[in-house]
Symmetry: C2
DNA sequence: CTTTGTGAACTTCTTCACAGCT
DNA sequence: AGCTGTGAAGAAGTTCACAAAG
């Protein structure tokens, strides 16, 4: 939009937050603004990318090549923000040895070897809910440190060196039901 | 597992929470347990379904029949928890008038009429990020009160009678990057 | 004059701990 | 004895309000 700097108020407006919140959040990581001027937009983007660890590329494994896995791996935004799928793990012997979207498909038993060789630290898990607990354990045993879980409700407590993020569309639509019922 | 009742501690264990948290959360809505016994499992499930508004069925519209929309509409869990897709809205004239998975595809201009006739209150929006702002406005104008947004980063402030829930896989994987960088 | 960065005040959320019921 | 429901205490998060800087 041609602007060089943005004030905390303008950032709040654009992100549905408040000016004080924007300033406090940023102050936790450093001083990125200039008094009287606001925040230089390019500098701020670069600072936030640094904070989030997006100033590098990450190799990602997909575990489970069902419908959800297939649609996610074709999703271009991952590449744009620095995440590259480099391996797919499956149980189905039909698929193993082939590739999907140019990415090789391995048997899930090969996970420890491939993840070490390729230094993969992040996995996107999209397997049937029944097998997710077992798969989480195998993924962690293969050296993965961050799991993005799309397998539905997850009650798996990761060890302290690992992190699980859950994306659960069913739970979100249930919360809409709650709001519409009560308000 | 053959058990009739569960204590707050057992529920906490199973949900990665704490006993006090489980009791406080439930106490906000009523008294569902028996002192000395814990919570009757069937009764508790029924109570929670009532709280969440899941003791009925909801009609849902899908807006945008791209890859994500197609994979979500085939997702059986929605039906199991009480949500039925009854209409698809699209811009592409190629698809309009046809159906997908047995659900009729309408032009997006027909949304106000169809949503009123069918009393649809919830929409799942899966359109390209560029058009999401405009689509949100049109969806709300059609009488929708709850939006589940899968179109990426959303900075749309809904009016007070409506609710938006965002599901953003890209944002979640970025937060994994943050944790792996700092811990 | 504008806007940041930040202590202090305030609000919300979580945990503690125990009276009271089964 | 076992476990809930809940005030009170403690922790975490948000907003206020203003000194300091451009």
């Amino acid at each position: 939009m041609g602007k060089v700097a943005a004030s905390s108020g303008e950032i709040a407006e654009a992100t549905v937050s408040t000016a004080a919140q924007v300033r406090k959040d940023l102050s936790y990581f450093g001083s990125f603004g200039k008094k009287g001027q606001g925040y230089n937009i390019d500098e701020l983007i670069e600072a936030i990318e640094g904070i989030l660890g997006l100033d590098r590329r990450w190799k990602v494994a997909l575990v489970g090549l069902g419908k959800i896995g297939q649609s996610l791996i074709q999703f271009k935004e991952f590449g744009q923000i620095g995440f590259d799928f480099v391996a797919i793990f499956e149980k189905d012997p039909e698929k193993i040895g082939k590739s999907f979207n140019g990415i090789p498909i391995y048997h899930i038993d090969e996970m420890p070897r491939v993840c070490e060789e390729e230094t993969i630290l992040i996995a996107l898990v999209a397997v049937p809910a029944e097998s997710s607990e077992e798969v989480f354990q195998r993924v962690l045993d293969a050296g993965i440190r961050g799991i993005l879980n799309l397998s539905g409700r997850c009650c798996f407590k990761p060890p302290p060196h690992a992190f699980i993020k859950n994306v659960n569309v069913a739970a979100e639509i249930e919360s809409l039901s709650y709001y519409l019922t009560h308000f």
